[in-house]
Amino acid sequence: MFNSLRQAMAWLHTWFGLVLGYLLVVIFFFGSLSVFDREIDRWVLPETRFEPQVIPSYSEILEDAFSKLTPDPDELAEARTRVEGELPENLRVLFWGAYTTHRDPTLSIFAEYAIPNNPDDPYDHIHGHATIDPRNGKVLSEDHLNIGSEFFYPLHYSLHLHWKNLGYFIVGFAALMMLVALVSGVVIHRHLFKELFTFRRDKHYQRRVLDLHNLTGVAALPFHFFFALTGLIVFAYIYLPVSETLLAKPAFEYAMQEAEEKGLPFEAAGIPAATASVDEMMAEAKRIWALRDAAGEVGFLLVNHPGDQNSYVSVFRAGTDTVSLVGQGIHFDGHTGELLYEDPVHTAIAGLNEFLIGLHLQHFEHWPLRWLYVFGGLIGCVCIATGFLFFVQKRKRELKSKFGLRSVDAFAVTTITGMLLATVAILVANRLLPADTAGKGSWEIAVFCLTWLLSMAHAFWRSAALKKQALSPAWHEQSFAIAALALSAVLLNWISTGDHLLVTLAEPYWPVASFDLVLMVVSLLSFIIARRLHRKVTVALVGAQPEERKREEVSRA
C-alpha cells in the first residue's frame, strides 16, 4: 500500500491524529482538570468549603442517610420498560456504599436496587446516589452540580454520552488512536533523542511549531502512553464485555464459588434480621490494619443485603498512602458482627492491575505528583494543538480549496480557545446564578454548551481571514475573552462568598486559594498571548495589503 513503513506510519499519524486530535485535546484537558476535581467542587459549592472528613458514624449518620437514598429517577423509568408488570414501590436494596478520600469534605453515598420480573435478566438492578455532609448527614441539593467531579471528570472519560455507553467507546477509540499516534510518531522520527532538545526559536513559524510538537510529544511520551493505556484498562470491561456475554456462565459460576469459599453470601436469604453495630466493625477493621503495621482510615464501606439474615459488611482501607484506591478488605457478618473473611495479599496480576489503575486515578496523597499530572496533561494538549497548527501551516500554499483548511483551523480554535472559554464561562455562571436557582446545575451546563457553540460559530466566521494568509483573528479575540472571564470568575468568587485571596491564603484554604491563583494565571497568560497574536494578525494583514492591491491592479489591467 505505502512505499515504506515510515510512509504508512506518517499517514496514520497525520490523518488519525487530525481527526481524533480534536477529541483528544478535550480528553486531555478535562483529564488535567479532573486531577483537582474535588478542589474545583469546593470553589463552585461554597457551602462545602470545610476540611476533609473521615467516614462518619454508621449509627449516628450513615444508617439514616442510606435509608433515605432513592433510586435514580431516570434509571427507574428505564427499568419499568424492561419488566413484566408493575415494579414494587420499595425496591429491595442489594447494597449501600460510601466512598471517600483524603480530599473529600463531603461524602458520596450510593445504593444498588434489585429489579424483579425482568424476563431477560434475573439480576437486573439500578442505582441511587447522593452527596451528604458527613458532619450532620444533610443531603446536598441535587440542583447543585459538583462541576469538578460530576461534570468535568465524566466529560473526560464519557463525554456525557451515556446511551449504550457511546461516550465511553468514543473516548476509548480516541485513546487507542493516541497509542497509535505515539507509536507512529516514534517510527517517523529518525532522531528521537535529539527532538528532546530541539526548539529553534529563530527559525520560521512552521518550523517552530513542528519543533514544539516534537519536543512535547517526545518529552511526555511515557506519560501519554501510560495514561492512554491505563485509561483503556480502567474501562476494559465496557470495551470488551466478554464476561457478560459469551463467558457469562463461567464468570457467574466463578463468582458464586468465590462467594461460597469466602463465606460471603451471594444472595439475600429473604429473612429480615437486625444489623449488628457497623461502627464496631469499622473499629475492628482499623484495629486489624494497625496490627499489620498499616494503620489507616476507612475509605470504602459496603453494607450488602442490609436488613437481611445474609447481610455482610465489607470495610476497605483508604488508599491515602498507597497507589491502589483502597485495599485490605475485611468482611463481617452483618447480623452477628462476626469476622467472616480478610482479603488475602493480591496475586501478581491483580496487584499490577490495581497499581496501574491507582496510578491513573491518583486517589493517594502526593501533591507534587498531582501537579505533574496536570502539567503532563497540558503538555499533551500543547502537543496535539501544535499538530493542528503544523497541519494548517504546511498545507497553506498547497490546498486549492481553502474550505477544508479553514475548517481545520476553525475546529482548532473551537477545540482550544473555545474549550477554555466554555470552562471559564461555566465558573462565571456558577457564581452569577443565585444558590437557590431551580435546576442550577442544568443552567450551568447550558451556559457551558452555549459558550462552546458560540465560540465555534465565531471561529468559522473569523476564519475568512485565512484567505489572506493571516492567522485567524478568532485566536486572539477568544483569548481576550478567556482573560476577561477568568478574572471575572475570581472577582465574582470574592463578591459572592467573601473568600478573596487574602482570606483563603491566610487561613490557608488551599482548594479555593489555589484555584483562584490558577484562574489569575490563566487570565494573565491569555491576555499576553492575545496581545501578541493580535499584533501578529495586524502585521500580517498590513503586510498582505500591498500584495492584494497589486493583484487587484493586475486583474483590472
Binding site: 500500500m1 505505502f2 512505499n3 513503513l5 510512509q7 504508512a8 506510519m9 499517514w11 496514520l12 477509540f173 487507542l176 497509542l179 497509535v180 507509536v183 507512529s184 493505556l229 483503556l232 484498562i233 476494559a236 470491561y237 470495551y239 470488551l240 466478554v242 464476561s243 459469551l246 463467558l247 456462565k249 463461567p250 464468570a251 466463578y254 463468582a255 468465590e258 496475586t347 496480576i349 491483580a350 499490577l352 492491575n353 496501574l356
Partner: protein, 98 residues
C-alpha cells in the same frame, strides 16, 4: 508499487475498516480464548480476565498498525476477522462446554 497518492478510496476504506473493526474482532477473540485458556491453566477467573485486559489494548494497537503495513489486504482481513472469529468461537466453546 503504488504510492500513497494512487490509493483508491475503496482500498483505503478497506484498510481503515480492517484496522478498526478487524483489530477489535481479533482482540475480542484473544480475550475470550485467553480467559478460558487461563482458567484451564488453573488461574482464577478474575486473574485470567485481568491479564487479558492488561494485554488487550497493546494487541489492538499492534493489530491496527499492522493493517496499514502489510501488503495484502486479503491476508489482513483473513487474519484479523477470521482469526478473531475462530478464537472467539473456540473460547466460547471451551468456556461453556469443556
Amino acid at each position: 508499487m503504488a504510492s500513497s497518492k494512487e490509493l483508491s478510496v475503496l482500498h483505503l476504506l478497506s484498510r481503515i475498516s480492517a484496522g478498526i473493526a478487524g483489530a477489535y474482532c481479533f482482540v475480542f477473540g484473544v480475550t475470550t480464548l485467553g480467559i478460558t485458556l487461563g482458567l484451564g491453566l488453573g488461574m482464577s477467573y478474575t486473574d485470567a480476565q485481568t491479564l487479558m485486559y492488561l494485554l488487550a489494548f497493546l494487541i489492538y494497537t499492534t493489530a491496527f498498525c499492522w493493517a496499514f503495513i502489510h501488503r495484502s489486504l486479503l491476508t489482513i482481513w483473513l487474519f484479523l476477522i477470521g482469526g478473531g472469529g475462530v478464537m472467539t468461537a473456540l473460547g466460547w466453546w471451551l468456556g461453556n462446554h469443556a
